[in-house]
């Protein structure tokens, strides 16, 4: 190496590059070796156990193959659930319609459709369990269509093959040089913490430009959702992480709460500055200063959070004392009102920040402190209509193929139907299924062509399992390597699956070129049918239609905040919001008009929704005069209606209702605590830079913000 790098300055760089490349390559080849070991060990065991189709078990190891042990285990877990469910349903369907092929196909198509609809409701491997439940039923039931009593044996065979494949690849991936996702999880939790604390600290100067705030908000949302996704996989690989799972959820929930309060606080300061009310804004920033000082310690790995706790508690005490001192420096009535609003928001933020840091500290502690972590859930924002569409598409595909099969009496029709089921289900949840299916189909074709060469030119020459391994491994390894590259991933998946399927390894291998080619054609027809079905009934995911619906759903969150039952509402509101935003973000181009409109709406919804929830909590906590209550409820209701269906008239109604509520709170004694939330809502409504500006009667239509409905 030294001869290649003459200067000392470039030497470490080059070496680093080489080392990193080698490390990357090594992890790819480790994946290939692990998958091959799992593949052939499964095949050997399946043949020893005399299972009817060892190739199914071997195919399973390819389907669950992943670089991360936790992903393999998580996928295996859900695959097992799906397989058991699907096999049970298959036995039921065959038992119900043993003589009626039409009703049988109808019932099967419906079941598969329902399963792929259910799959769109989940975003991690849980969706995979649904897909599996669908196509396992087809795999079990279709081959025994001529021989209904055989369904039980078919179900048992399928179950044992899949479970064997899962068991072997789970053990291999977990034991042989496992690559742990736990470290990724730990790192991203720590990064989330460091980012947020750094951002809060950096904001001591006061105003943050709106675009910085928006991109920060987007990053916070992404981090919250990523953490949740990671958590749901890591709990399978690591008992330690499983024990801390609830702490981690709590940490994430508190993160979401604190980041929402933080950004509403900053919008408030920004608004004040824009309105040339610098005095109030500066006073608020001064009140905020202790937080910045408290956070001003370098966050090092390992210790971090616990150091911050006492400092934050001190800052909170200082701030409590300062609230009234600083308040005395203001005299104007409007200034005082805004100051009170900001101060109460600030106190809420400090409490939430403290809770968040506390959760982080208990997460970083070596021992798990107390088993009684609060039970929290991460709610998802699901779209039932999208799920219905997926159900409809898959059912129709199955029915069309089934009718074709019956009418043409095609001997390999079942094979085509199976593959169409598998792919229509597997790719229904990807953003661009048509393209992915085509690429996988190309890979599948290539893999089957390679399979032809492998089976008739290589395998015919060899004898014994050892040589079989030697004969197949090179062909399979190419596909596995491609699976790991970003560009060729789907192609490689198709290649490996096509190869593993078409070889159809079994104890007494049959070499029948005619059957081989017929089967290959059936496979391609099945895949093509799946691809065509995605073209004919376009998937909802990623379409403008679904995006509009998601945006409407996001706005509807305000109605949720205003009207849903209170217990657990804060968490529900936050997590559904984050999930919805991240779904739409994943499906829009960064910086496009759609994505900007989305973020603008998300900020408005977050701020108003949280204020409404706090308002309702305060209303529930203390007695509200009966003459006042109607006004408050009216404000809640009109706001909910306005966000559900934004238009200028609704905007005026909401604005007036909030103003009336504020006025009537002023007329009643002892309800001042409600005023802060109402002011916050009112200021959000009047903000000329927010997405709501488009509905203001006086302001010209904002050019920046696309009319999103």
């Amino acid at each position: 190496m030294s001869a290649v790098n003459p200067t000392a300055a470039t030497a470490p760089d080059t070496r680093q590059v080489v080392v990193e490349t080698l490390r990357e390559e090594a992890s790819i080849w480790l994946f290939v070796v692990k998958t091959l070991v799992a593949f052939f060990a499964t095949g050997w065991l399946a043949m020893r156990f005399d299972l009817p189709a060892p190739s199914t078990a071997m195919l399973t190891t390819i389907i669950v193959a992943n670089r991360q042990a936790g992903m393999v285990l998580a996928k295996s877990f859900y695959r097992a659930i799906g397989t058991v469910g699907g096999a049970t349903v298959a036995v039921g369907i065959v038992a119900a319609f043993p003589q009626q092929r039409d009703l049988f196909l109808l019932a099967l198509s419906l079941w598969i459709g329902v399963c792929s609809g259910g799959a769109t409701l989940y975003r991690n491997f849980k969706s995979y369990a649904f897909v599996l439940g669908g196509y396992t039923a087809a795999i079990v039931a279709i081959p025994v269509i001529d021989n209904p009593p055989g369904v039980f044996d078919s179900a048992v065979a399928r179950l044992s093959e899949v479970l064997l494949g899962l068991l072997v690849s789970g053990v291999v991936n977990d034991v042989v040089f496992p690559s742990r996702m736990r470290d990724v999880l730990r790192r991203s939790a720590r990064e989330q913490f460091a980012h947020f604390v750094g951002f809060v600290r950096g904001a001591t100067e006061g105003a943050i430009p709106r675009d910085v705030m928006e991109s920060a908000h987007l990053r916070f949302v992404r981090e919250a959702v990523t953490l949740e996704d990671l958590r749901s996989s890591v709990i399978f690989e690591d008992a330690d992480a499983r024990a801390r799972s609830n702490h981690l959820r709590l940490f994430n929930q508190r993160f979401m709460a604190a980041s929402t309060s933080f950004q509403s606080l900053h919008h408030l300061v920004n608004r004040l500055k824009r309105a040339r009310r610098d005095r109030t804004a500066d006073t608020l920033v001064r009140l905020y200063a202790p937080i910045g000082e408290a956070l001003h310690v370098p966050i090092e790995a390992g210790m971090g959070a616990r150091v911050l706790l006492p400092r934050l508690a001190d800052a909170r005490t200082t701030m409590r004392a300062q609230v009234s001192v600083l308040r005395a420096t203001l005299d104007d009535a409007q200034d005082l009102r805004d100051y009170d609003t900001g101060a109460s928001l600030l106190m809420r933020f400090v409490d939430e920040l403290h809770a968040y840091v506390d959760a982080a500290a208990s997460l970083q502690a070596p021992r798990i402190a107390g088993g009684a972590a609060e039970r929290v859930r991460f709610d998802r924002g699901n779209d039932w209509l999208g799920a219905g569409l997926a159900t409809f598409r898959t059912t129709i595909t199955m029915l069309v193929l089934g009718i074709f099969w019956i009418e043409s009496a095609w001997p390999l029709g079942s094979s085509a139907m199976l593959l169409a089921t598998i792919f229509a289900g597997l790719f229904a949840t990807t953003p661009n299924p048509t393209r992915v299916t085509w690429i996988v189909m190309l890979g599948y074709l290539t893999g089957m062509a390679m399979g032809f060469i492998c089976e008739f030119f290589v395998l015919t020459q060899v004898d014994g399992y050892g040589l079989l391994i030697v004969g197949i491994a090179p062909f399979l390894a190419v596909g596995l390597v491609m699976m790991m590259s970003r560009r060729l991933g789907s192609f490689g998946l198709g290649w490996s699956m096509g190869l593993a399927y078409i070889l159809a390894l079994k104890n007494v291998q049959t070499y029948d070129p005619a059957h081989f080619i017929n089967d290959a054609i059936a496979q391609v027809v099945g895949l093509g049918a799946a691809a065509v079905s995605f073209v004919v009934i376009p998937p909802a995911i990623g379409s403008a239609w679904l995006r509009r619906r998601q945006l409407a759903r996001l706005r509807g969150q305000v109605a949720l905040a205003a009207e849903a039952p209170l217990p657990g509402l804060r968490h529900r509101f936050e997590s559904v919001n984050h999930d919805l935003v991240s779904q739409v973000v994943a499906q829009t181009q960064p910086g496009s008009a759609d994505s900007r409109a989305l973020i603008a709406w998300a900020l408005a919804v977050h701020e108003t929704g949280r204020a409404l929830i706090e308002l309702r909590h305060d209303m529930a906590r203390r007695e509200v005069a009966s003459t006042l209550r109607p006004y408050l409820e009216d404000a809640l209701r009109t706001l909910a209606r306005f966000y559900e269906k934004p238009d200028p008239a609704g905007y005026l109604l909401a604005r007036d209702a909030v103003a009336t509520a504020i006025a009537s709170v002023g007329e009643h004694e002892g309800h001042a605590h409600l005023l802060e939330h109402l002011h916050l809502v009112r200021m959000a409504l009047l903000d000329g830079e927010s997405v709501l500006a488009a509905y203001m009667p006086t302001a010209p239509l904002a050019k920046e913000i696309v009319h999103a409905s």
Binding site: D174, A239, D240, A241, P366
Partner: protein, 65 residues
Amino acid sequence: MPREIALGDALVPGLLVLFVLALVALALLDWVAGRFGLYRLVWHPPLFRLGVFVCVFGAFALFLI
């Protein structure tokens, strides 16, 4: 140990039943180990877990019935 056990008139290999029982036992042990951080004392937790499973399964097969 009976070679086959009848579960709802379906004959199931006795070893399979023990295998599932051993998995359940392993899940319990795993939970305890995770709760009290015992895996910190082990070099390679998954390998250790596999070893424990082999012991549990072997012990069940030898002594249970």
